[in-house]
Amino acid sequence: MKSLAFVLITLGIIAGSPASCLRADDIGLRAWELEAKGDAAGARNLLHREAQSSSATPDSLKAYAEFLDRHHDPATRDAYEKVLAASSGPDKLAAARRLLLLDIFAEDRASAAKHFAQFRDAGGADFTLPTKQIAPPEKKQIVLIPGPMRSFSRMAALSPDMNPDDLVAALARNIVTNGYQATSSNEALEQTEYLKLVVRYLTQARELDKLAGADKIIKIESCDSAQTNDLLRVLGYRMRGGCGSDVVLETLNATRAFLTIDSGFPLAQLEQALRTNRPFTYDYKPTEVPVLYGPEYWLSAKEKQNGEFIDAFIGDPSICRLYLGLSKLDPQTAEDLRKTVTIQKIRAFAHVLDFYGGMFDIRNGKAVVPGGARSEKAWADMVGVSPDKGAAFFERLVAREDGWMASYFDALGRITYSPSNGPVQQYLTEPERMKRFYAAIRGKVTSPGPARPVFRSNTDMMLLTTRLRLDPDGHPHIPGGVDVWRKLFTNHPQHSKYDAKLTKAAGNWKDGDDVLEALFALTRKSVENEPLKIFLSLSDVDRHRLKPLDAETADRMAREFAQYGAQYSLFAEATDLGNGAINQFLDAAEEVNQIRDLGLRANAAGTYQSLVAIWQILYRQGTIPTAEADASLTKIAALFGKAKNEREVFEAGRTGVKALLAATHSPADASPQDRFIDLLAGAAAPSDADSHLQMVEEMIRIFESQRLISLKTIFDLVDNLESLSRGEKVNQQLITKAAARIAEIQLPRASMSSAEKNSMAFGYWPEKHIEQQRKLNLRALIDRSATDPKKLDDIRGLLAPFLRDTLVGLTYMHYAPPGAQILHTNPLFVRSHDFIGLQGSNQTWKNTEVLGGGWPTSAGGKLVGSLSGLPYALAEAEQNFLIPSREQALIWGDLVPQMLVSATVPRWWNVSPSQLHWVALHMNYAEVRMAEGVVSAPQRQAFLDALDRHAPPARVRKIGNLLEMGEMRSAVENVMPSEMFAVSMDLLAANKNDDGPIAKEIRRESAEAPKDLSYDAVSRAFGTPKPTLANSYSPQLLNLRTFPTLMGYSSRILAESWESNLLYYAALADELQIPPSQLNVLVPQWTQQTVEKIFATHLEDWPALLRSLRSVGDDLRQKSRKQTSAAGGE
């Protein structure tokens, strides 16, 4: 909880003299009590009344102003004005300073000038008002695109929210990635349908432009006027019926009509005007689009003759790629490069600039290189030109080895400092080491270069540099030690070789650098890089472990990676598991794998994996004490090492449930079903019961939709069977209950024909599993068994599939994405989980995959593989049920599931309000430092230097310029919440003597609750799961630079590097006084809203995501203010 002292200070109560502030103290305390109870409206009312009263004191005015300030209330500035008028001395200075900063936030220049004068009058001396002006529009070199921006954006798949300055670059990206395709017959490129439509649209737009005349307004006076037919002809429509209410527009020319509708021409409005015989006007002014360096720069003399800039531009993908590359560069760097190198020369390396130019930075004529001054000489040696020569250095860098050196530069430049990794950049840029590793990467043949594809296909180098970890002794962490890696390379687990040369060299490896050198060498390979995956996975297992994996365990894990690697995320998350538990888990997995009967294997694997998955959830939530983690998992794993038939699988499942209940210290008489649902819903405090109940209800709804049999019914039934052999009576009620549920199990609807099944070998095992359950006639079996213990025992085995489904269902319920349409609609979704997979592939221990979507003859999509990737797979399956709020869906495959996972995996039952507040304070601190940067050059530089460690040079420069011009809002919009948080941490660490109010509050809060407010604790509370990047579902913050678009298995990394949502929501919840427990219900809803509002142009369009995030926040603020007003607030 927020400390009382803090709140009172914040409310301005402690600051005044005891006598003068007695009343304010009282009001402030009462307001705080109201706010703490969740009655913000009451607190606001109280403070407002006091501030309005004739006896208002400066302190009570200040309390009210600061209350409004904390809640980002629009009335804040007015309230501070009153404080300013009523105060004197330091309070007056503080009020003037705050008003000045609020003016800067609001970009109210006139008010800022006024308050700046008052700030100076009150004794302030450290600020100056910005004088730099925005470049006047006429200075920008523009081209005209016919028709409105909105229409062109629709046709070219660009977000209409985009800043016009960025339009040509976004268009260039779309042309590069989607505009051309290779023809089958030769290497020439041909236009895709997307680009053909853009070209056709431009033609139609020009015709409409002509009709619009000199004033660029399309006008139709009346239905029968002369222009009507001309316009309709261009649009591809004609009138049916005579002018008047009968007139209807219908398609005459389908090609033109398609463009008309697809570009959003207001056809319905035109039709309405014709029907009512009213004039129709449509503003058809062309879109003015700024072009980097002006259109002349981009076109050759020949191209200039071929029509307008836009036609020539989209007609040449190489120009587009160059434009894209240069637009990513820091403007000053690009300008230096452009002045030094001819366009023809740069054009040859456009692809390298596109991928790697974003990290190029020239300052004061010198190239900034990874490693700084210490590494400059090495860079000069490798590139052949000194970094002192700025543009010439980069010119040579992009040309070296078809981009390999630039990719190395980029990979090293992107490394950010992380306490858990250590000073990796410093290590890797040690001159000799840097050269050595590059030599390994370079090899002898350098073509094709890494930038030849349109998306980065080789991400391994970047993953290696950003995820490498140094041990406390400064050496790279090699999981298990060098021996493990030497043996892995020399004695390949599948009896082949990773690389002949490396295999030969491995015998002589002595230290970690030898292993790293090999790993760097393998990053060149375009085929799957298994050693790197093993290295990163085991490094992540060791990363937060007090005692690293021993050599034997690491060796086993490396060798069995192909089979069980997907399960290692469990060990990366559960850092309390020892080598014994890990080996026990793998032993049991191996035993399950040995089961020949695939149906039995599926039941054993499903039961075992679901128990482990539940264990993992309870461990993550802290319900299983860390001291008991190892023993409890070991116990569960041991059960499945012995299960050889259905009866034993059932027994292992039942004993596993008991082990979990014991590990969570559940009451002995607790219903296992109810207890599991309670535990999976989360460990709620009494005050959080309402949120907890909502979670429980939703889980029960899903359980019922899936027609699963409760654990209690299953276990009671088995108990009853056991008692029968002792001569007791059959519990008819129980059997009826179970039989009724079994009767509800339906056949998979519209399942595939035998031919389809045979051809695809997909869905066979789940169907068999379901059929087996449907056929179970419990009553008849019991009747037949009479009191024969053997037969009754066999019935127990028949319940094994039901127990498996119930346990699997519990894990599905826990990770259900918002809406959970599939789980509510397909009653067999859980039962259909395929633990065997496609014939011959053995997916029992592989990552969870979604299969069967878009195949109407199947019984709907289903999940295949183990449960290790269940949260992501469920989110992936559900993502297309989200409904974009705009007319065009530009939701993309990898981002949305990851955003959903970030809302379903973390839980906030154990998060304290002070943690929310701590995040909010950091956000505010960074914003205040930004605002101060508007009026103080040194402050600005300090902020930019901190930001430089997290954001690319181009964006840092842009933000610097915006701050210099006083464009605070635009500047804030260019900084992501995760960057705000990280910059704030950095600035606070660097300025331990900062005596500003927020810095003081942060320090005070931290001192009061050092454990809760440590970086690690906040990282766990508001970080995101990163199953690909960190090989773990454990929520955490990594503070990495946002990754670029990638291909292959690492494509999810782009989304995983986005860490802003939860930090933003945390600050929002603090501002709106929402208790942390409610985040368990609200975050999934907010995330859904955020996704539905995203309208981005391309995969790296983070500003669009940020806009959507902020829009959700603004809506909630507005709603909250309305509620406050409705509740009686002013």
Binding site: E250, V696, I700, G860, I883
Partner: protein, 329 residues
């Protein structure tokens, strides 16, 4: 549930115990049943009265609560079988003891028509003609009807939410953007979810080329939702039956089982005719409501609608075959 909440808000329970757990049970909601009656030549039979019908669920006779024909205002059916008009804006009568959310009688005047327009890549060629045909259909709807225009490709989009204003619906329709994968059954499911929140009579008209390459739900799972909600689905496929037999069969099955119809209309003219047929169906259908009599069956309940008179034996009733009662807290 409210009482449970109150207890928990007071903070007396750390976690829910078994006794406090909310009870999940089958709810008995008012059933809305729309159907058409035709003769042997497929001509609509109009003018039938409530007493002409025998409604049964799993063979258990049901008592009709309200009765409506076409777009005429509905009437309340009294105990003695006589009827009396429902006053506009008054709540639909409920049975004593039934905890039913208030539904106003206006809700049963006209039909809530949800048009679900396929704007995926599969519709690329016929997109503009389809748009024209839908616009004509919207214009020709009865004044009492409301209409929503939804589109789908990979995701659902709601360009025109439910409205009485035809222009608004057409404005939305003409804003549709073409392109992307087709997730027809996902889109249909979401449309059903929206429609189920609206009281009164509703239908969904799917206008699609047929193929689906993105849905995660099976067509028959979606059909089951439509059956349970009592929402007939009409399908206009712009593909020939023989071209895509899988989709054609699914369309037929969905339409038949929900009380709708499937049309295969490749040309614009055929599409217009299909829409005309749907409009006729809407104008010539009967809508009754009833509260189910006690029935232990919590699974699928078979509904039968019979004409009481001898003449009725030659008549054909087209209605959904049954439903599953809702469940919840």
């Amino acid at each position: 549930m409210n009482s449970i909440r109150k207890i928990l808000i007071l903070g007396t329970a750390l976690v829910l115990t078994a006794q406090e757990r909310p009870t999940f049970r089958v709810k008995v909601d008012m059933v809305v049943l729309s159907f058409t009656v035709t003769d042997s030549k497929n001509h609509y039979i109009n003018g039938l009265k409530p007493s002409d019908f025998r409604i049964a669920e799993d063979g258990i006779a049901q008592k009709i609560n309200t009765f409506g024909e076409g777009n005429k205002p509905p009437v309340q059916v009294l105990e003695n079988g006589t009827t009396r008009p429902l006053l506009a804006g008054t709540p639909v009568p409920t049975e004593p003891g039934k905890d039913e959310a208030e539904i106003r009688s206006d809700a049963f005047v006209g039909t809530n028509v949800f048009v679900l327009f396929d704007t995926s890549n599969y519709m690329y060629r016929g997109f503009v003609y389809a748009s024209d045909a839908i616009a004509d259909f919207v214009r020709g709807l009865d004044r009492a009807d409301s209409v929503a225009v939804y589109t789908f490709s990979r995701n659902l989009s709601r360009p025109a939410p439910l409205t009485h204003d035809r222009s608004e619906a057409i404005f939305g329709l003409r804003k549709a953007v073409a392109g992307d994968d087709a997730a027809l059954y996902n889109g249909l499911l979401l449309t059903l979810r929206d429609a189920s929140k609206i009281p009164g009579r509703k239908v969904i008209i799917v206008f699609s080329n047929g193929p689906d390459n993105s849905s995660m739900v099976a067509p028959d799972d979606v059909r089951a939702v439509a059956e349970d909600e009592g929402i007939p689905i009409y399908v206009i496929s712009t593909s020939e039956v023989s071209k895509d037999p899988v989709s054609s069969n699914i369309f037929r099955r969905i339409a038949t089982r929900t009380g709708g119809k499937a049309y295969f209309a490749k040309t614009w003219q055929k599409q217009v005719e299909a829409f005309e047929s749907i409009r006729e169906d809407l104008g010539n259908s009967y809508t009754i409501t009833y509260y189910p009599q006690p029935n232990p069956n919590e699974g699928f309940r078979k509904v039968s609608v019979e004409i009481a008179s001898d003449a009725g034996k030659k008549m054909r009733v087209r209605a959904r075959p049954g439903y599953r009662p809702r469940s919840g807290f």
